[in-house]
Symmetry: none
DNA sequence: TATGAATGAGTCTTCATTCAT
DNA sequence: GATGAATGAAGACTCATTCAT
């Protein structure tokens, strides 16, 4: 019976996964454009040849890494949705979750990578949109499509704001704006 | 009297400017990471050596190109501010200007390039922030700092939204949200 | 009773043959130097490993493919010989057969591949020579060794001529030359 | 004043020539398909990068090497033509020149390389045809186009014959055949 | 000072071959 | 015996950067 190391070495599924995971990590750390086969192989702990055996081109590997990240992002949406469902989708709760999210540097980077890559990659666009689409759909139940959509747009703005500002936005600002957007009198 | 070519050769400032301009154009067209000396030299119509003569390293040149773009963006702010001063900073006018801005693909690309580069480049951050800082300062005169800031954040959200969505946001949505944000009753 | 796949797996001879045949086809299509294990396996419809199982090295496989082609070429000689025996080895008949042969692109390619490979491969030389040797032996019966040999040489010239000229040689030219060579008065 | 080595290092024309020459030599020695940048650089005594600086792709370099060879071949035609003009284009003289040519292994290889490459390269075809075209044109003056052409074809046959046969063709055979072809009674 | 030739480090990619299963 | 995963050597090519001229 083969030992763990040997079995792992002959487990293509696992190997592929390790490589994609390494690529995803590196995309977050150094950016999509800096990716190289060598880098990925080193991170994944596999020989150089393995990265080209499992992916026809670096572009393919990059794409899969990005997709991997997109799925991660999606998983976080589910968490947010669950929290909102449980605690109520009030501006206060939303704000708390946003502030929490902003603190997760890894998540912020992943999101940034996916969104910026999506601008040029039609395949990714759909995945990248899911975050705002789903949040917006959830909020729409209570506040109507337009206000929900506007709130999602505002939240995106908050995320990008935080990326180039040293001082975080005051939570009250976020909360007030969300309240105004979601509860604006009908026009 | 020296002819144009000779004079040009004698005007290092002009040459430097041409190179930076070419770099800026290319950043918008192909992205920061795809920049090469050769590409820039070709675009600027200068010999390869000129790009290394005026800039110690490609990174420096890249940085200057980005800075050049940031200044361009800033120039656009002035235009917006002037329009707002003249026509009034109402949600309707703001929306119109935003929709106009979204239609300028070149400007959108320049902004994207500056912002994403700014995330990792402390020097650029300050320049990249200016857009929202100045807009926010202008709006603050009438609506107070908090609401002004929130409006600027929302507008950033609108920009990023447009980059990964095929359908543009309805102008009414933008206008309503801005109205809600700017005119929210004090808390 | 084993099904086809199983039987096939049990018939190493057949498998070997399929691989060699695939190699031969590919030599004709892409050239000796472009051959790869993967290519051959795909064409033969066998797993990659089979190509290395049956042939110690790619060179061996290549050599066998070439040999296979040489045998094919030889088979064509028999056809020609039979036709000559039946219809008489006259310049007219020879010319007709040559023109026919020139039209068979696949055969021309196979011949080219064998001959050019034979230049450097002593093993193949003997096989590659057989074409002219046999034709020459056949013609010698009627016209003597020297004239027969010269005719075979001329025919080789015709083949190579056609490979780099766009316009084919006029059949009369071929026929006249063969007549002159074969019926030249003794010296 | 720069010493010879330094000047040579800054003489792009010369460097290009050295690289092409090295490529041509190697084509003759190892074949077109075995060419590599490294090989050529080593042979030319230049760093690896030089081969890619002067030639956009290996294919270009290969093509130039082949062209270089073709020109060499053409130079030999001139020699032959001059000899024929001086000594008379008789079968005996032609045979002597052919036998001489066969003995020049380098020339034979060069011709082989050019011809086989020309089969697939339209650009080279024209160059490769020149040998027979010119010889044929020269002989046509005295013997008419058809016989001249047939003689050139026969001579090509002699060349290829020699490439895969260990024993050279007897000179008398060549001479007799040429005599028969060139002096055949009109039909 | 201005130019572009020169260099080699580093990139992606392909494959023969080995060998665990 | 049959399969295909694994590996790394080697190839083509790109470029930042240096530096002779």
């Amino acid at each position: 019976m083969p030992d763990a190391a040997a079995r792992r070495r002959r487990d293509p599924e696992a190997r592929r996964r390790e490589i994609v995971t390494a690529a995803a990590e590196l995309i977050v750390e150094v950016g999509v454009d800096a990716l190289t086969h060598r880098m990925i192989a080193a991170r994944a702990g596999v020989p150089l040849g393995a990265t080209t055996q499992y992916f026809a081109t670096l572009d393919d590997l990059r794409a899969d890494g990005l997709r991997h990240l997109a799925v991660e992002v999606e998983a976080r949406i589910d968490g947010v949705r669950a929290a909102l469902a449980e605690r109520g989708a009030t501006p206060a709760v939303l704000t708390e979750l946003i502030v929490q999210g902003l603190a997760d540097a890894r998540a912020m980077e992943a999101d940034r990578a996916v969104v910026t890559a999506a601008i040029d990659d039609p395949q990714l666009r759909e995945l990248a949109r899911r975050w705002s689409t789903q949040l917006s759909a959830f909020l729409a139940e209570e506040h109507g499509a337009e206000r929900a959509s506007a709130a999602a747009v505002f939240i995106d703005g908050v995320l990008w704001h935080s990326r180039i500002h040293d001082e975080p936005l005051p939570p009250e600002l976020i909360e007030h704006a969300l309240a105004a957007i979601l509860h604006a009198p009908a026009t």
